[in-house]
């Protein structure tokens, strides 16, 4: 579980509770200029994860940490697929973040608006 907030010109993702241990990471700060969009995507969890480079993967229970697949690094923090939000990045260490949030619809709206306002 994670929280996603806009702070100044950054998107800040904070990993909550014990997931910090599983993911080996407590927060990520991304400049909004490098945030391309967000999508609630329950099916994302069924995708092959690739190679775990840091963190924990117990299929069907928890995906948390860094994974590499097809030359891309993806950060995961998901237990409940229904609440998974995919945040697409550009020019960052991670190609995308897949995080579980409390209210996927609100998070998607927040990120899409913030990513949209910096476009032109």
């Amino acid at each position: 579980m994670a929280t996603v907030e806009i702070e100044g010109g950054d998107l800040v993702v904070r990993v909550e509770g014990m997931d910090k241990l599983w993911a080996l990471k407590s927060s990520l700060t991304i400049p909004l200029a490098n945030v391309r969009g967000a999508t609630n995507d329950p099916g994302m969890v069924s995708e092959p994860k690739g190679v775990r480079t840091a963190g924990t993967y117990v299929p069907g229970v928890v995906v948390a940490g860094s994974f590499r697949r097809d030359g891309e690094r993806v950060f995961w923090d998901v237990r409940d697929p229904a609440k998974a939000v995919v945040i697409e990045l550009a020019d960052e260490q991670y190609a995308r973040l897949v995080v579980q949030v409390d209210d996927p619809r609100a998070t998607v709206e927040l990120v899409e608006q913030a990513a949209g306002t910096r476009k032109d």
């Binding site: 391309r36 969009g37 999508t39 697409e88 020019d91």
Partner: protein, 131 residues
């Protein structure tokens, strides 16, 4: 327009396929699973090219307004976008406004557009209420 766009698939064909799906199932009714199945493009490539489901939806709506609206005259995607998304998404609202202007110009009058949209709504209701 966007950065990091891979060229491993026919983007225009994917956008057209997505437009067909959104026009039938609406925005909320279409999942990324549906889009992956319909376009035949890998999930990672869709995200990399369009940023999000909304990014793909906007590309699909623009494609429809530019390429399909005038030609086929099918108004369903326009009606759905107007009803479902225009009130909550400014970019959708501006595409809807652009579509209506195009229709006005093609038909030569606002009344013709209004009539066509009204008839489409009647048709979607199965012609009932047409007493």
């Amino acid at each position: 327009m966007d950065v990091g766009r891979p060229k491993g698939f026919d983007e225009e064909a994917a956008v057209a396929a997505a437009a067909e799906l959104f026009a039938r199932r609406s925005y909320d009714g279409t999942s990324v699973d549906d889009l992956v199945a319909q376009t035949g493009v890998h999930r990672g490539s869709l995200y990399k090219s369009f940023g999000s489901k909304r990014g793909l939806y906007l590309a699909a709506l623009r494609h429809y307004v530019d390429r399909e609206l005038g030609r086929a005259g099918d108004l369903q995607f326009l009606l759905l976008a107007a009803a479902e998304r225009a009130a909550v998404d400014e970019e959708v609202a501006s595409e809807v406004a652009r579509a209506i202007e195009l229709l006005d110009r093609a038909a030569g009058s606002e009344e013709a557009t209004t009539l066509a949209l009204g008839n489409k709504i009647r048709e979607l209701g199965g012609g009932r209420g047409d007493s």
